[in-house]
């Protein structure tokens, strides 16, 4: 059997969760050159090298250990590189993204083992297991992908795909049917549509922002009248978290902002209680920062005393930034007897902060509002694949737009749009040339 394609593949190979150490593995012809870019060094094969892993913008991803294996003396029989970093999804995701941006692609289910087998690194006895592995991982990956594609995200992807298909329909119809009075390339329609499409993709990527939320975390404002139970809530959220509670580095005076980890993802909590009574100049700076943070917040939790103020009339919009979604937190549910959790209208969430009741549910709810229902790395990776595909599609659409503008004509843009569709097909399934023709024949009366 000849060697298959030499695509360089990348994946997090340590089990999902927050282990102490996580490993990103690369296999393929670009592995060493990517290692050089990320670690500024390619150590001797099988010699450990400790040093910084650097992102494109020169920022530090993590300090870790780099191992290189020269083909054929590696697990897959190809050039292999392993980055050992601190566990936890944020660092590993950044590292993975860095590898992909440098020329690798995300590995498919069982692909390392498959390559190992095809390159004679695994004997026949082990081979039986590989088929099972691929089968199992493919099924699992499909399930995860489906789960990642639920809800609003799915709808937006769907809209994006149909906008792209629509644009291609116009471009290809103009090319294949020049005598049908449908030359949208010359009448400016396509040029306008591609502009809109780019905006649409950018908006989608911004909204999907998994990367941002993963890296920077979500900012949550806890607001409410004194004695509504904000501190108890904060304590309950923080206290349940066995991991670190840290002050934000560089804002040591900023006592109002705390960070917790929600399944490995940073969650910034801002307690508006701390925003009052400040005369200290330094503290005022901190408060100004907190106000800025509140303006950028992802969500506001308005805590009220469910016993004293069941209709949450105490809500003061004036001090809060507009456009930030608000969840009303009915506290002291142990007294009011209100059912713990989100109500039917999805507006009010009931907890008993002091008793710690509803805190687990609240965290799950917060994860959901972050667009990160996925709690495991596997599910997160599925979403990562989608974002990766959309980013590649965007890149192609931009190149296509440039080709059209250079006046070179539509067939070059068509080529870029085809690549964009190929990228999106990784999410939505195959879209064949015949499917496209079907759209054209349904949309235009062709028939000389």
């Amino acid at each position: 059997m000849s060697e298959r394609d030499t695509d360089t593949i990348a994946a997090v190979i340590t089990p999902p969760g927050r282990g102490g150490v996580g490993i990103v593995r690369l296999s393929g012809s670009l592995a060493f050159s990517i290692a050089q870019q990320v670690a500024s060094k390619v150590p001797e094969p099988r010699m450990a090298h400790y040093g910084p892993f650097i992102d494109h913008d020169e920022s530090l991803i993590d300090n870790g250990i780099l191992l290189c294996f020269k083909a054929p003396h590696s697990y897959t029989g190809e050039d292999v590189v392993e980055f050992q970093a601190h566990g936890g999804p944020v660092v590993l995701d950044r590292l993975l993204q860095r590898c992909v941006a440098s020329g690798a692609r995300l590995a498919n289910a069982g692909e390392y083992t498959e390559r190992a087998f095809l390159n004679d690194k695994i004997d026949l006895a082990q081979a039986e297991a590989i088929a099972d592995l691929i089968d199992a991982e493919t099924t699992a990956a499909a399930k995860l992908a489906a789960r990642s594609l639920q809800g609003e995200f799915s709808e937006r992807i769907h809209n994006l795909v149909s906008a792209l298909t629509h644009l291609r329909m116009y471009v290809e119809a103009a090319i294949d049917f020049p005598e049908e009075e449908i030359d949208f390339l010359s009448d400016g329609k396509v040029a306008g549509d591609v502009e809109l499409l780019i905006e649409q993709v950018e908006t989608l990527l911004a909204a999907a922002n998994v990367g941002r939320v993963m890296r920077d975390g979500m900012t949550l404002v806890i607001a409410g009248r004194p004695n509504a139970g904000k501190s108890s809530l904060l304590n309950a959220l923080v206290g349940n978290e066995s991991a670190i509670v840290t002050d934000i580095p560089g804002t040591t005076r900023d006592v109002v902002k705390e960070q917790i980890q929600l399944d490995g993802m940073p969650l910034h909590l801002i307690d508006t209680a701390g925003l009052r009574d400040s005369s200290d100049v330094v503290e005022q700076i901190g408060i100004q920062r907190a106000h800025d943070a509140i303006a950028q917040a992802d969500r506001i939790l308005w805590v009220y005393d469910g016993d004293a103020d069941p209709e949450h009339r105490s809500f003061e919009e004036s001090n809060l930034p507009p456009h930030v979604p608000v969840t009303f937190l009915h506290n002291k549910a142990d007294k009011t007897g209100r059912k713990i959790g989100l109500d039917a209208n999805k507006k009010v969430f009931a907890v008993s902060a002091k008793q710690g009741e509803g805190i687990v549910e609240l965290k799950a709810y917060l994860r959901q509002t972050m667009g990160l229902e996925q709690t495991t790395q596997g599910e997160f990776l599925a979403r990562r694949r989608h974002i990766d595909a959309i980013e590649r599609a965007l890149e192609h659409i931009r190149t296509g737009k440039a080709a059209l503008h250079e006046g070179l004509a539509g067939e070059l843009m068509a080529e870029d749009l085809r690549h964009a569709q190929l990228a999106l097909s990784e999410i939505t399934g195959e879209f064949s040339a015949d499917d496209l023709l079907g759209e054209i024949f349904a949309g235009f009366c062709i028939g000389k």
């Binding site: 000849s2 095809l118 040339a433």
Partner: protein
Amino acid sequence: MFHADHYAVIVVGGGHAGTEAALASARMGQKTLLLSHNIDTLGAMSCNPAIGGIGKGHLVREVDALGGLMAKAADRGGIQFRTLNSRKGPAVRATRAQADRALYKAAVRAALEEQENLDLFQQAVDDLIVENGRAVGVTTQMGLKFRADTVVLTVGTFLGGRIHIGLENYQGGRAGDPPANALSLRLREQPFTVERLKTGTPPRIDKRSVNFSVLEEQPGDNPEPVFSFMADRSWHPQQIPCHITRTNQQTHDIIRGGMDRSPMYTGVIEGVGPRYCPSIEDKVVRFADKDSHQIFIEPEGLTSNELYPNGISTSLPFDVQWELVRSMKGFEQARITRPGYAIEYDFFDPRELKSSLETKHIEALFFAGQINGTTGYEEAAAQGLLAGTNAALKAQNKEAWCPRRDEAYLGVLVDDLITRGTQEPYRMFTSRAEYRLMLREDNADLRLTEKGRELGLVDDKQWQFFEEKREAIAKEQQRLKETFVRPNDLSIEQAHELLGDELRKETRAIELIARPKSDYAKVTSLAVVGPMHSDKPWAEQVREQVEIQAKYSGYINRQVAEVEKSKTAEAVSLPEDIDYALVKGLSAELTEKLARLRPQTIGQAGRIPGITPAALSLLLIHLKKRSA
């Protein structure tokens, strides 16, 4: 009783597929017999009198690059030539010729009669002789048996053909010709999957009854494009224009009024028609908001008084046809010379073919043209050439050949058919070709002629022409690479004209050609560069080629890289005896699909709808285990 002569290749059918198949096999030195029920209809254009168009023109050039006839016959018979998409890029430009039916047919007939190693015989074929799962000959209507090493069937719409006009219908292979029913019945006894398709034609009009003075004229291009690489404008007969009219509200009312007698809409026709070539009744129903459709009025020839109104294909009853024709501008007094009709015919599921167009069920039997579910003269000709070539190779026990998807539209056509099948008459479009930027009309010879020569399809004259041209291209490219243009060489006006900007540094002439506003003519008109001096017939083709390659180079390099990645999958073949039930981890659905379609390579398997990358991995692992 067998006829005394034993043939290497027998071709059944004398349409565009059959003639190219017979010519190809004969050019390769194989003793070939072409059987047709009527020698006078060899090379007939049964549908509209035109060759080429987007995607189709590409196929014609490929046939030409492989030594085939169609482009040359179009140059001999073409009475109007145009380059479609001339304002778009070279990859999607295509040549189209209106043909004089009589001149075209005469050119085909002459080529067949001049061809060495080729015998013509007039007899309908009633049966295929199969021994031990291998085709060994045919039996004609009068019981004559011919033996051959291989048989190519190119029977078009004649298998089980049924013609519909209104609710009336009768058996026919084409208006005026009988169907091949005996053969159809015999083939239905074989293990092929048979399906029905439908196509149609418009009524023909008497030219003398049309008022041209009120119609829009559509002239050909000046200078006229030429189809064959080897031809020039002197081959072309007199050139005449086409005209355009339109349907109107009244036309549509007449059509709606006749719907209760439409065989399509009353369920009499079961075959599926093409979506891109709907009948006029289809257009009116499906696009009800469109109040007018263009109709292209194509002359049938210089000496014919008939017109072909392209765009009103119909199977409505004759009285409705008469009225709808007369409702259009310029057609108020029009007389129909032949009614329009729809025809239903058998085709065989092309997924039961190998890429050589040999059937998987019966060895040494090849199918080409409409029998495979395609439509169009050009699609038929290209398949005919391939089937004839492979039949000739098989007769010599040589390995089959088929171009890959990145080498030819012919490769795209065959690969689409054998991996995806078709639900409607399959027509070529450039959007079907993922390597569209590489598969251009202008470089068909550079893609295929060398292979054609190796196969024995390309004669000495064409080969010499090609070699000289190819060498001249390389030489001119080298010259432009070595010629530098310095900022001082250009006046401000020249720089603006070429670049829309000033030239900042010394630049190779070839790189200047690649700039968006620039072209070959502009750059070679600079004193420092100068023109290419040649009066050879290929000189113009060389200049064009140099410009296109320079302008497309970035995109072409990207496609070449893409092709390289897919090549490994194409090279892994799947053995014919593979038992898909033994492939571990493969779902029942995919196992069934692969077992039924039996792809020849991993690449083909990957293009079958529903086959996933994971399934391909499982196949590779299985193959490796098998070989261990």
